[in-house]
């Protein structure tokens, strides 16, 4: 199967000299990224661990309310807000930045310039993140969802995001590759949308006096779009780069990928108001968002068909490639969560799911099953190419994959079922509130188990990352491509010794 699929596209023959040149160029680009990208990646992992601990705490507190109950710092509300901040702006955003910087350099075939200033941006971001999480824990939270950080944290984020965006554009403008690949479109969109979103939300909610229901409207326009126009484009773009690159086959339909990009840009930004469905907002606003959500089926199906057709005949590679395994898991979760999200925006559906744990399950399928898994995927591909070392242990990679994959599945299944019936009972005034609380307890408990599994996976991942950066992995002997030592090409890698980065 694999061979036939590969043979349908004509493979140009390159001379050893051409190969060596291209390999040297790629190695130089990877080397230019090493410092800042590894810095962003490492700090992302630190926040992933912090966020995981906060997540388990918050989850356990919901079924065992006496845990640390006397401590104001560890009360459920603060821990939950700190968890979101640590994961959203720590892990997810910093991982996103690492992924987009490296891919932008590679796809533009341009080296990263002034890497030290980017490290400054990383430091600023981490200071902001630290202030946000500690500020919330100490009691300075704003209680505006996704924007809980106290007023002293956002200036750091804004400065850091500004530098990152400027650098990405600078790399893009220095590009040697004439063609702008679809991943670069997504990245360019994301680095433009996120600062705009963040500034508008900060300005309208905290700095000006937009009180009343305009605030939640701005809040959910931001909260939904920070996922849709910051995490999603970079993650989808990453899948568009990694899947073809790993299996060695161009994407099935480039045309579909471009349709997908523009329909995402247009429709995703209109979704979001369904978070306020039934609330005190004008009816037309929720309707407009429902239309936007339904239209999102177009880009989602475009991406789903495209990735599936690209993978067709290559699914056996999931056994061999850790990066592919995580990325394909993420891509499938993207299709699932988006189709679910489109239907969740419908009124009949939302009347039950709103205000329940069902929505929490949906959110985690999105930010974890989809975005986080793709970020793991890109880390598995990118880090060895930056450090020049292979991963130290395949077993740890397998532990990582299976514990997070099983973890998020339990998480999603438990809270979806529990949340759905919670919603049905909330809609029936004859069901006392006590019964609803008691009914959800086993499902909340299943979430704690799921969270523990996921955290175990994160620990395995952290160990792998630290070992790799500390030089524990086997050093690659050379050749342009890490890991793969195609049997027929052993002679080739010997020829290429001069071309590799020494």
């Amino acid at each position: 199967m694999a061979t036939t699929a590969a043979l349908t596209t004509t493979v140009p023959q390159y001379s050893a000299r051409e190969r060596a040149q291209a390999a040297a160029e790629r190695a130089a680009i990877d080397a230019s990224c090493r410092g800042p990208v590894l810095f962003f990646a490492a700090s992302a992992i630190v926040w992933l661990l912090v966020g995981s601990v906060l997540a388990i705490l918050a989850s356990v507190k919901l079924h065992s309310p006496y845990l640390f109950t006397a401590s104001p710092e560890l009360t459920f509300g603060r821990v939950r807000m700190a968890h979101l901040q640590a994961m959203g702006y720590g892990w997810l955003s910093l991982a996103t930045v690492a992924a987009l910087l490296w891919q932008m350099c590679r796809l533009s075939r341009a080296e990263l310039v002034y890497p030290k200033l980017l490290i400054c941006a990383g430091v600023l971001w981490n200071i902001g993140e630290f202030l946000a999480v500690v500020g919330i824990i100490m009691g300075d939270a704003t209680s505006v969802e996704w924007l809980e950080a106290p007023a002293y944290a956002p200036p750091f984020f804004i400065a850091a995001v500004g530098i990152v965006s400027a650098w990405t554009v600078a790399v893009f403008r220095r590009r040697r590759e004439q063609h702008v690949y679809v991943t670069q479109w997504y990245i360019l969109g994301a680095i433009f949308w996120f600062p705009w979103l963040y500034l508008v939300a900060q300005f309208m909610i905290f700095w000006s006096t937009a009180a009343g229901v305009v605030q939640p409207i701005v809040n959910w326009w931001f909260g939904h779009n920070v996922i849709g126009l910051w995490f999603t484009p970079v993650a989808v773009g990453t899948a568009y780069y990694l899947i073809p690159k790993i299996i060695g086959r161009p994407i099935h339909s480039y045309y579909l990928s471009i349709i997908g990009f523009w329909s995402l840009a247009l429709f995703y930004s209109w979704a979001g108001m369904h978070h306020l469905i039934g609330g005190p907002i004008p009816g037309w606003l929720a309707s407009a968002s429902t239309v936007g959500s339904m239209m999102m089926l177009i880009p989602v199906l475009a991406v789903a068909i495209n990735h599936h057709m690209t993978m067709r005949g290559h699914f056996h590679r999931l056994r061999y490639s850790p990066a592919l395994r995580f990325t394909v898991f993420g891509a499938i979760a993207y299709t699932l969560v988006s189709v679910q999200g489109s239907f969740e925006a419908l009124k009949d559906f939302s009347e039950v799911a709103h205000f329940t744990h069902y929505t929490v399950a949906h959110a985690h399928l999105g930010v974890y099953g989809f975005v986080t898994m793709i970020m793991f995927g890109v880390f598995y591909y990118m880090v060895p190419r930056l450090t020049g070392r292979e991963w130290a242990s395949s077993t740890l990679i397998r532990i990582h994959f299976w514990s997070v994959a099983v973890g998020i599945s339990i998480y999603f299944a438990g809270l979806s079922i529990g949340g759905w019936w919670q919603g049905r009972m909330l809609n029936n005034p004859n069901v006392p509130f006590a019964n609803i609380v008691n009914y959800t307890l086993p499902y909340l408990f299943s979430r704690s188990i799921a969270g523990t599994l996921m955290t175990a996976g994160h620990l395995a991942f952290t160990v792998l990352f630290v070992m790799n950066v500390a030089g524990w992995g086997q050093q690659r002997a050379g050749g342009p491509t890490f890991f793969v030592e195609p049997r027929s090409d052993t002679a080739r890698s010997e020829q290429l010794v001069g071309g590799r980065e020494a």
């Binding site: 507190k61 309310p65 509300g77 603060r78 969109g189 247009l266 979001g272 968002s289 005034p429 307890l441």
Partner: protein, 273 residues
């Protein structure tokens, strides 16, 4: 051909369409609403928060209350269920007496931030001040929600209260709770069997007299384990003699804020259905 510019313009265009549609238009439509006044003699509704209630809103924010409690009442036509006769009914929020009517944008003009909420792990609080106007109930519930609702999974908030030695006489603000809730604020205290035996040995007669003062009809056979346990159960429900629990400034402020939550009470013309 510079495709970067195309992507930039396209991203700008698509995004500003939603910015206009979802932000600028609603701001124009809702940003300038005025309070409602039926006649000259009536007080305008709503009223901005004042004084200690305003400080209480900060406590509500800082502790993330809105991550479990919404502040909106949905329409009589929202959501459905089937009653005993198999008939389809709607509007659970109002039937749960979470408000007299649905909330509309005018209810929120002075809210900042507007904590509509997205989760109902706990009940809605739009008009908790009307539904449950007892400050003392809120204090006992906040100190340990299990003291009011045994099934509750809400955190205790002992750090909004302080346990202090009574000097002179008990304060008016002291919480009216049995010692099981006050010995270890936030938790439910119960001595172990050995501890209870020791307590009985040391001050058994005082304890007995105190319990009998509260429920004179009872008799206790202290020679049996069952009798000792029964005395313990009664003793735990009596208040501590030397200590009292009083709200801190934050605790008082939070309850003042809760009592000021009186949305969906005054009728508004636009909320009619």
């Amino acid at each position: 051909m510079d495709r970067g510019m195309v992507i930039f313009l396209g991203a700008l265009l698509t995004f500003s369409s939603s910015w206009l549609g979802l932000i600028v238009f609603p701001f124009q439509q809702l940003g300038y609403e005025q309070p409602y006044q039926k006649s000259e003699s009536d007080d305008p509704y709503p009223q901005p928060l004042q004084g200690i209630a305003l400080a209480g809103k900060r406590v509500y924010q800082a502790n993330g209350c809105m991550y479990c409690h919404s502040q909106q009442v949905r329409s009589e036509r929202f959501g459905n269920w089937w009653d005993e006769n198999g008939e389809e009914r709607t509007g659970a929020d109002i039937k749960r007496s979470w408000g007299l009517r649905r909330t509309v944008s005018r209810d929120y003009i002075y809210d900042n931030p507007t904590m509509l909420g997205t989760m109902r792990t706990g009940p809605d609080l739009s008009n908790i001040g009307v539904r449950n106007p007892s400050a003392m109930w809120h204090h006992t519930h906040l100190l340990n929600p299990r003291s009011a609702n045994p099934w509750s999974i809400m955190p205790s908030f002992p750090y909004l209260y302080k346990r202090e030695k009574i000097v002179g006489y008990r304060s008016d603000k002291a919480l009216l709770l049995g010692r099981e809730w006050t010995v270890q604020p936030g938790y439910r205290w119960r001595p172990s069997e050995q501890e209870w035996d020791e307590l009985l040995r040391e001050r058994g007669s005082t304890i007995l007299a105190q319990v009998l003062a509260n429920s004179p009809a009872e008799t206790f056979d202290l020679t049996t384990a069952a009798g000792k346990k029964r005395l313990l159960d009664f003793w735990l429900t009596t208040p501590e003699e030397d200590y009292q629990i009083v709200p801190t400034t934050d605790g008082e402020a939070l309850v003042a804020y809760l009592l000021a939550l009186r949305k969906a009470e005054v009728p508004l013309p636009e909320a009619k259905e």
